[in-house]
Amino acid sequence: MKTTHIILIAAIAVAIGIIIVSAGDASTYVTFDQAYELASDGKDKKIHVVGTLKRNEFGDIVGIKPTADKISFTFIMVDESGKEQTVFYNNPVPPDFARSENIVVIGSYQEELFIADNILMKCPSKYQEDEIQAGVN
């Protein structure tokens, strides 16, 4: 057996190891109920939940509450199955937060509260202008 072959076999073994470990570290997209179950089973893995901000009957966003010092806030998010959940985020309210169409929270449950480590927002017309301002003539 040539040395190169040994190196190759070792490299393939490492590659397989990488795939397994990466898959183990990979997060998944779940609903709040599934996330809650995971947390109650004692699994503290961070997961992704996709949803929208809660709106009242007039279509206005409700439930965004910054703390007095403005450096963290809670909000109410509705996931894809329709479940409402209060989410805490230990950062100031992102400026375009209320404009977001969709949000993804990455984090986990602690007791009854969902703690987001990170929030991804999908905002309309990001990077793209799709309307002409009226009145420019």
Partner: protein, 844 residues
Amino acid sequence: MVNTFIGNLGHLFVVLTFVSSIVAAFSYFKATQHIGPAESEWKKNGRFAFFLHVFSVFGIIFCLYFIISNHLFEYHYAWSHSSLKLPREYLISCFWEGQEGSFLLWLFWHAVLGLILIFTNRYWEAPVMTVFALVQAFLASMILGIVIPWINLKLGSSPFILLRDAMDAPIFKEQPDFVPEDGTGLNPLLQNYWMVIHPPTLFLGFAASLVPFAYAMAGLWKKKYKDWIRPALPWMIFGTAILGLGILMGGYWAYETLNFGGYWNWDPVENAVYVPWLIMVAAIHTMITYKNSGSALKTSIILVIASFILILYSTFLTRSGILGDASVHSFTDLGLSGQLLIYLMFFTIGGITLAAARWSAIPTTSKEISTYSREFWIFIGATTLCLGGFQVLVPTSYPVINSIAGLFGAELSLATPADQIGFYSKFQLWFGVGVALLSGTGQYFWWKKMDRKSLVKELTTPFILTLLITTIILASGTITKFSYIALFTAGLYTIIANGLILIKMLRKNPKLSGGAIAHIGIGMILIGILFSSGYNKVVSLNRSGILISADQPTEFNNENLLLFINQPKEMAEYQLQYKGEFVEPRFKKGFVNKNDILKTRDPYTVIAKKDVVFEDRVIFKERDTFEIFPENTYYKIAYTNAKGKTFSLYPRAQVNPQMGGLLASPDINRRWDRDLYTHVSSIRSPEEPHEWSEIKEFPIGLKERFFLNDYIAVVDSIIRVPVVDGVALNENDVAVKARIKIYGEDQEYIAEPIFIIKDGKVARLPDEINNLGLRVYLLHIDPNTETFTIGANTRQKDWVVLKAMEKPLINVLWIGTLVLMAGFTLAIYRRYDEFVKMRNKNQE
């Protein structure tokens, strides 16, 4: 009037670009397949077609530049990427802000590189240019913008589309010739010199990776399995150097302006170019090994093909929209995913098929490699680099894996790990250790025949030196984490080992020192990353621990700090004070307090209310009219350190509805050993109205002192003004302005409320002093008693929330980058020289 001529001309050039590249590819293909007179005839045709191709690429660029620089807003490209007020130097960057333009940039570099290859090659011209012209045909098809009627398929997206064709706006139904007065502009965040130099550098790197691929294809095709390496090698080094420079420039740009928090975030778009770069580095090493010893030829072929395919794959990832929410900077989907996929598949399948067909014919060495040979160490090094790339590639491809699984009916919902940076760093750190150790040791094998005895002898000095320095550093207690100690030691080892080699080399033959210099650069980059990222310290950290609410037991340390205007706060070893909102003048250096200027109807033009002082120098006199950049607001933060030294930082925020609200850019206090990085993380939304208190009235006389919200104030003068901005005055109308001085904590402010009698009706224009949270009115004037009434209401004072970080030794990273580039440059020079010498001997 809509100028359709230039767009049609441009479009004609696009079609010509596409057609000529196909003709060139065909002719060069024929030339490669024939010998004798037919070959030179076909070659002539190929050259002609390629020259025509290059000409038409320049034609497209000319037309697009003409449209942008003449502000022809009837064209979608000019309207959506440029504006009248855009500074000249950024007109060029409008080019590549759009996706069509970035394809054009890529086409341009290939065209230039193709020309260079035609003029520097003899034997290789025809087969290499066949591959080049084919690639150009694919790229040109991306901007073709032609609908094939009978299958209703849109091929490419043209940059010469008229606004009325691109938009479904109702105005075009009434007025088909409507031309907007101004464009929507280049995103202000991108108005930065990096936007001028970063994309061209990156795309030159992409383009250069085609050259070795084309040579490899040519070598396999013409069964010249070995000879392609020599001409391809300088290009491989060049491509790697430029792509590496482009990547690092992107990192620096992200750090300095885009406020991604750091220079590298393991975002899918960043990963997509990092992986091919690693493979290119590995390819350089195996190619050099082949040149010196005849082994690793097959590996080189695989790596060269892989690096080009990975470049195409990265293009597919970033432009097909498949990354979706996974990335902060994916382009918008132009509906080119199908075309991009065909482009990727064509060269993947083509490259692999050709290599497979010739595989058994590729010569190999039967010689066993010894553990004491440099081939062995290079091979291990290349394997480490490839595995490092593989580790990044797999999670980055999760969205692709999910989609492929979806095609087979399986539902996968893999997401990248919650903590991306932590996840990738955990692995890449150890690959970094491996690379550093190997590049330190490998260099000794490189220059000498080694056996156990001489190895021990050679490695003793760097070993002892490294251990000595590491011990001293460890004793000082700076580094405690095991993995960090490993990376530090490995990085230091490669610097010392390569440094010792460099010293020897400089005495003997400085031309050969490129490798040693480049490896020193790598060591410095690793150490710079280790300290600046691993020991990145949040200085605005609030360690008191906050309870979210009474029934939540979890405590949080918050990394942000709330600052009210002019109220000092302590943070780590600094005292901070927020000093208000500033703007930047257009044609002068410095910052201007928003309270010191009067706005006019044109947002770009303002008038100084008083002398404007910046850093003890008057930059504008009272009543001066000057231009500003209205998109940017700078928040002045005054720092005082423990020794009483003061400095100010001006982090920036931009109200930018296009990009989603508000964008922050940091300001950095740079010292030799660390950067203090400050950015605004939240401000009051400018759209949200203030809550004002009830108005308070002050009946007073001229020069009489009174208290406005606890500040001493005095009416300095009261004058009649002939014109009021925004109000048309008749001869019977009167406008009077009061000039009120208010003595704030830190400076004197001027408020100029106006009282107007127009058509017998009274109007009052208040003036607002943001820094004091005050709005001042001139309510009444009593001409008989020469007294008047000033009204004022107050609001909550202005505030910002900011975050500050310290990044130690970040300069080692930047200097390391420059050292790496210097090493690459030397190596390119040396390898190109070798190629030219051989070519001139008519060997190639």
